[in-house]
Symmetry: C2
Subunit: 664 residues, 2 copies
């Protein structure tokens, strides 16, 4: 289509006016808020109209319906379009909610927020993560269908759609997501690409000359082109075709950013309100006679007809699921259980046994996999190092989706985004793994998990400079503090096998926060005092080795530094300094405990404190106070023998003891 | 080729034995260290032999020669191969250095480290960043050639090569790098792809079914396939062809991981030493009769011949450059100057003027661009928001490489890696920019800049919850602490326009650390006391608003919270509490000052302290001590009016004052 001369925009057909209702509600919202992104609202309205009304299954009254089609607005800055769509499709949003777009506390925030607005399937805005999560949702659908559907009971059988823009596809994350989806032949993933050739800074050709068809085909996708993004029939045909594909599908839809407005086709309409003059011209171009936020009755009715059909489909499924529940009660229960369970006796570690926490974690994970059929996950090509393979659980592949080990390839960010998508889908609990240092590649997705309050588990091995020979590129230093600083992430750094077990039990219990589990490559002693530690670890910090009498000071440590602290405690005892050792496997949980509990673990009167951790020091100031000292790593690591490096960096008994003795 | 039956491996030609010398030195190193990655050493040796001996320009005695071809071993785990290559090519590495592979303090660490081993052009290991940096190097070459070459003086005229593996290309970063290079038509970038179909966890087909030819062609690259990675002639032909291409080139070389060893073609040979038995069989397969670390004299001579030719080319260039220096002394000086200069008078801001620090930064950057012809950079499609466009400096494009504004597209990580490559190349100073919250996407590259001690400048606007309407996905919280925790990164958060100016001056002076500059979207008052603040900002923290007499306490703040602290200081003065206000624009620099200076700014006797910053609180414990309090943001932001959110989160004068008054 050319810029604005399409007569279709101004057509008075009910379907065109229904499309234009989305357009006008969206830009009315943006005008009222004096903030937002009109370009995509005007450009993409026909795409979402075609998809939502003619294809998408959902029930506005049950927005979390398990077998609904999933829809991810990866172009999160197009939130106004999504809210208009949700409103017209009967979700629990009022016209006043639309009028409160981007206002504090409203149901219609600047970018779509999962758990905040009914009908929003994922929080989006950070570009390409929506696409990455959609891939995860489609993986979950394929896996759970393979695992839980039974003959005549296709209880899991839905599509996953995403609307993406040029920005999503410029991000490298998109390539990881695309390749993963292509490799896994996620045929029920359908991506609609709002291809408008304009980005914030100007024409897309300023930064890209990519051939999308070739790129997606290289990754095993079906590619279709819709030349006129206002042509509803072409859109319908393309989506119907994509539904029949044996591969994931991309539909590149050529649209005009800001279609209908005088600024159409330019970057000026991307991210700023149109203003009164251009709004008046837009109304004229669309032949739109109504007041702001006004919609014709027949347009409402038009949407209602679609809604009613969709609700019928929902009821059919609900009947099917009720029968399934009767016949397969255990499976049905699993699908509805967001917690992980672990028999207290399933795993036991012997005091004194030397075992790396990555291996202890592996042992626990095998038990979890046995007890929880819906526990699955994978690694970014480091399964053998992370020790996160689930034995006898099969591989999740294109041909056998019931397998529970995912080969993510060397795609950390794509892995993390997909895991968030799997978690958002519901019905299972999932984990991902790589080296701690490479958490850097996935940080933005861990943040998004925290923002969405979803329980994705991120398992990171090789947790310190003890990695040794691989050198500073592979030795984490600041990653611990970086992860702890994300609001709402529980970061566990267990001191031994028993704390690792307890950490997993705690992770399994918490379904409204993501968790990070950090494990060692090197062996650690299984400590007597950490046994049966679930409650202790769940409180984040506890006295793991008490003083013999009234302590005169405290050594505080996490992970592999806890046994070191205990050795120093013994050395100090020899020179008649009686100190307690506190293990701090999870600062976030500890900080949430009562003042009373915290004062019990860290009595305020005891100001002689040393904190010991092979990571950034400043996070420990909150526990050691002005008079304490911190033995930490605030420089990069080195390549060489791990235990020598560890000792050279001050993590040896003598240095801990001397540091304590140097306290005033 | 098939696995091990190529007679070529055992050929006694001097070139084949020269290839095998690289293989054997590499695996001897790994055996001796009992740590390393033999697979790629054995598989890729012919590729680097062909490239280095037949094409690469360098001078082992001047490893930093400005016009050398650049070589990036993106597959950093193949370090043993690179060290063998450097040794055989006369760089300052001895056979003892090879024997000390991966030992503490050796010149041959686990992964190649820039600045540590002569001849290493980039620190690599974190996958795909090598490729990203190679793209930056090729950008620098193209730009500087466009800007500084003169008729008959092609002083900048070299190729950039990278050796990449399957893992590099699975990473999403590779797509950003590839698209950037394709778009910019970096014809002198040649990527050699060690395509061995095996990754750490098993066959590549477990995680990927990508068609590399199609993928690279989609991005505007020339693609060639070399079917037998042991065929030196084919390798030579392909590289020669790539040199003539008008686009960036990829040469996919089918190799056998661990070629020659009994484990060839499997993931078992990826990351563990071969062990004595397999070493013996390898020796037999290669017909290699020498002792470990032994190389035949004629092989040494063979390499020496190549070296001599290369040194001749160096001398030719040196003559050319001497003439250039005579004729264009200013240009020659610029190319050799790693600092940024700024006339003290070039920029002035008026006290009281309201100006966002992003705008102040823009003003300073224009002056920098005027005074420093080799200052250039770009944004990830947020130029208009970050305010980092260099006026009248043109755009760096495929056709006009002399332009100084880079359109990176929405490719944050690729941008950061490329900027590191530009910096590594030398001859210019560069910056990149996006929103602070999206620093998450580039964190791993900022870390690598710090590890390499290179002065890339990362400019981030929209630095807090004050962003408002866009909501929590776009409001940074924990990013400040995350960036500060990277060892060796100077993070500047200036309080006003003058501090912004001083921050840029400090950044320009420091050429051995990367810098992060964080700016506001909202307007801030230009403070009287920050004027002429270069020395103050260079010390990281200073008393910006002293008490009237002897202070009873201190308010410490950074950035937009400094004016707030000053207002509270005034309010406190009204109730007869005389406090000082400390501005802390750069914690890292402050922490490097003498104890005396730090005690002058934060007198130990003054324990009544409040720190105020719109970011994670715990980083401030080091300054406020046990008795102080912190007003911080330790939860996600919200969507709504920015100033309301800021106030609701406690950043208002009354709350600061009350918090101070509540101190014991």
């Amino acid at each position: 289509m050319t810029k604005n001369d399409s007569a279709q925009l101004a057509s008075q057909s009910v379907s065109q006016r229904s499309v234009n209702a989305l357009r006008m509600l969206g830009v009315d919202m943006i005008e009222k808020a004096n903030s937002g992104h009109p370009g995509i609202v005007l450009g993409s309205a026909p795409i979402v109209y075609s998809l939502w009304e003619h294809f998408l299954t959902f029930n506005p009254r049950e927005p979390q319906w398990f077998n609904r089609d999933r829809f991810v607005l990866s172009v999160g800055h197009g939130s106004a379009l999504l809210y208009a769509l949700l409103y017209m499709n009967g979700f629990d949003l009022t016209i006043d909610d639309l009028k409160n777009f981007r206002q504090l506390g409203s149901k219609t925030p600047g970018h779509p927020e999962y758990g905040h607005t009914p009908g929003v399937d994922a929080t989006t805005g950070p570009l390409s993560q929506g696409l990455g999560m959609a891939v995860g949702m489609a993986m979950a659908e394929k896996h759970l269908a393979g695992q839980y559907n039974r003959p005549h009971f296709p209880i899991i059988d839905h599509f996953t759609y995403a609307l993406v823009g040029d920005g999503d596809l410029e991000e490298g994350l998109s390539q990881e997501a695309i390749n993963l989806a292509g490799h896994l032949e996620l045929s029920k993933l359908i991506v609609l690409y709002d291809s408008n050739d304009v980005s914030l800074d100007g024409p897309l050709s300023d930064s890209s000359n990519e051939n999308a068809a070739q790129r997606f085909r290289a990754a095993g996708w079906d590619y279709q082109l819709v030349n006129d993004g206002n042509d509803l029939e072409s859109l319908d045909t393309a989506i119907a075709h994509a539904q029949r594909s044996h591969n994931p599908s991309i539909i590149e839809v050529k649209t005009v950013i800001g279609a209908g407005s005088p600024l159409a086709g330019t970057n000026k309409v991307h991210g700023a309100p149109l203003g009164p003059d251009n709004m008046a011209k837009l109304r004229k171009n669309l032949n739109w006679q109504l007041q702001p936020f006004q919609v014709d009755e027949d347009v409402y009715n038009h949407y209602d007809n679609f809604i009613n059909q969709k609700i019928e489909a929902y009821h059919d499924w609900q009947k099917l699921f009720n029968h399934y529940q009767d016949q397969f009660p255990e499976e049905a229960a699993q699908l509805q259980d967001a917690k992980l369970h672990l028999d207290e006796q399933a795993v036991q570690f012997k005091t004194g046994e030397m075992i790396a926490t990555r291996n202890a974690s592996s042992t626990v994970m095998q038990a979890l996999a046995q007890e929880n059929q819906n526990f699955w996950g994978g690694a970014a090509d480091l399964t053998a190092s992370n020790k996160t393979y689930l034995t006898d659980c099969g591989d999740f592949t294109a041909d056998d989706p019931s397998g529970r080990n995912i080969h993510y390839g060397i795609r950390e960010f794509g892995m993390a985004a997909a895991a968030n998508g799997i978690t958002l889908h519901g019905g299972s609990r999932t984990f991902v793994s790589t080296f701690l240092v490479f958490s850097d590649y996935m940080k933005a997705a861990i943040r998004l998990a925290a923002l969405m309050k979803i329980p994705t588990a991120f398992v990171f091995s090789h947790d310190s400079i003890a990695v040794g020979e691989d050198g500073p590129t592979h030795e984490p230093v600041e990653q611990l503090v970086g992860l702890r600083s994300i609001p709402g992430v529980n970061v566990f750094r267990p001191a031994d096998a028993n704390e690792t077990l307890a950490a997993w039990q705690t992770i399994g219990d918490i379904d409204d926060h993501p968790a990070v589990l950090v494990t060692t490559r090197q062996k650690l002693p299984t400590l007597a005092d950490a046994a049966n530690g679930k409650d202790k670890v769940a409180r984040g910090g506890y006295v793991i080795s008490p003083a013999k009498g009234e302590p005169e000071g405290i050594l505080i440590a996490s992970g592999s530094e806890v046994p070191l602290a205990i050795k120093s405690q013994q050395q100090l005892a020899e020179s008649h300094h009686d100190v307690a050792v506190v293990s701090m496997p999870c600062m976030e949980l500890f900080n949430q405990q009562s003042q009373e509990y915290r004062d019990h673990v860290l009595p305020p009167a005891l100001t002689k404190r040393v904190a010991i951790e092979m990571g950034t020091g400043f996070v420990w100031n909150q526990y050691v106070g002005s008079r304490g000292k911190i033995i930490s790593v605030d420089q990069f690591g080195q390549s060489g023998d791990g235990s020598t490096i560890v000792s050279n960096y001050g993590f040896n008994v003598d240095n801990v003891t001397q540091t304590y003795l140097s306290l005033q």
